[in-house]
């Protein structure tokens, strides 16, 4: 184990997978000469050369399309989106080409493609650069969607994503790149896609959250423990396929569930998780499932409004107290 940042964990994952498999390569804006817009690809150009670390023009649809073609011919591209908000420009390549190719070719052309980069609310990046982009992708059959909360998850899940034979949408966060944590050094360390994790055990209420919302939930759980409320925290890690078994078995134990979501709540991930719980564990519930989500507005630029947009610790704590009748 080493204590490293989330950013370094991703860098290690890329290096280890490139060492392991010569078919893996990285492509995107500023990944090479500039060492990555957020330095995730730092040192890779020097170590692997320009054949495997490819700087592209500013054209997401173009280089994502090149990635799909390369995957069809047997390579394993890792495409970097400088921010996932820019992936909207590549939506046709991702949704209509990457996600459909295997199906429409009768399984002849699997697409082992990873599209990775940061997304979600950050620090005053405003309406166009703060979106929780997973909502645009997890609806699409044929795509897998990962949101890794910790440095160890970032490494283990990125390695699995690169080894997976399907297109994987892998959305990191600007706000987590500097977070430090214990990460295994073993180059064979991976975390399987589609496996949730219980980050804190508890008995009164299940709180489902990922990324920044999970860090907020951990602080709230600590605070509520002093009031005698015991929270169990479940992190899905992979949003599609979703590990509903882990979520539902936690709810069967606690009989209450609060689902957190940073992005706008309408038709969001929280809605999906809440309905899965209701369908699978209705008879085990002592209260209706609650959602605490971002407001249904674009992200404002002003700092005070930005804080109102994303669920605060106070709002999360209130919801948990309410569902526990406190």
């Amino acid at each position: 184990m080493s204590i490293i940042t989330y950013r370094e964990a991703l860098n290690q994952a890329l290096r280890e997978e490139m060492d392991r498999d010569p078919r893996v390569f990285v492509m995107g804006e500023e990944v090479g000469l500039y060492d990555g817009a957020y330095k995730v690809t730092q040192g890779l150009l020097k170590a692997y050369g320009e054949k495997r670390i490819i700087d592209t023009p500013i054209c997401e649809s173009g280089f994502t399309g090149v990635g799909v073609g390369a995957a069809m011919l047997g390579l394993r591209p890792v495409i970097e989106m400088m921010t996932f908000n820019f992936s909207i420009l590549a939506l046709d390549q991702i949704v209509n080409s990457a996600a459909k190719m295997c199906y429409m070719s009768g399984g002849q052309y699997p697409i082992p493609l990873v599209v990775r980069g940061p997304g979600g609310p950050a620090a005053q990046l405003a309406a166009q650069h703060s979106q929780s982009m997973e909502t645009y992708f997890y609806h699409v059959p044929g795509l897998k969607v990962v949101r890794p909360t910790t440095p160890a998850d970032a490494k283990g899940l990125l390695k699995s994503a690169i080894r997976d034979d399907n297109p994987v949408i892998f959305i990191e966060a600007e706000t987590l790149y500097a977070v430090k944590g214990e990460v295994p050094d073993d180059p064979d360390f991976t975390i399987p896609l589609g496996k949730a994790i219980v980050r804190r055990e508890g008995t009164d209420v299940t709180v489902v959250a990922y990324m920044g919302m999970m860090y907020r939930a951990m602080e709230v759980a600590e605070e509520l423990a002093k009031e005698g409320i015991s929270c169990e925290l479940v992190d899905p890690r992979t949003l599609r396929p979703m590990d509903t078994d882990t979520i539902v078995s936690s709810v069967r134990k606690t009989h209450r569930a609060v689902v957190l979501e940073a992005g706008a709540g309408f038709a969001g991930m929280g809605s999906e998780i809440a309905s899965e719980i209701t369908e699978e564990a209705f008879d085990d519930l002592d209260a209706p499932v609650m959602r605490v989500t971002g407001e249904n507005a674009p992200m404002p630029y002003a700092k005070n409004l930005e804080q109102l947009k994303t669920p605060s610790r106070a709002k999360i704590a209130d919801a948990i107290r309410r569902i526990c009748n406190r």
């Binding site: 500023e30 000469l33 500039y34 407001e295 249904n296 507005a297 674009p298 404002p300 002003a302 700092k303 005070n304 409004l305 109102l308 947009k309």
Partner: protein
């Protein structure tokens, strides 16, 4: 701009060469050449533009934080 000094992607020569093709400078030259604007006219336009930007910055900096209801203002046209 990621590469202002021509240190990552471009040589200094390339940056200098492209400055020669600055469309604002070229347009100004063209206006002088064709006798459309004189030096005083251009100075006046520049001053107007700089003043407008300075005013906007001063207005923004002097404004109080927006009230909470602004979060939902103009999401849709009512």
């Amino acid at each position: 701009m990621r590469d202002p000094a021509g240190s990552v992607y471009r040589t200094k020569e390339e940056v200098e060469r492209e400055k020669e093709r600055d469309p604002i400078a070229m347009f100004t030259e063209r206006c002088y050449r064709d006798g459309i604007l004189g030096e005083a006219d251009v100075k006046l336009v520049e001053k107007e533009v700089f003043d407008r930007v300075d005013e906007a910055v001063a207005f923004a900096e002097a404004s109080p934080e927006p009230p909470p209801e602004e979060l939902f203002t103009d999401v849709y046209k009512d």
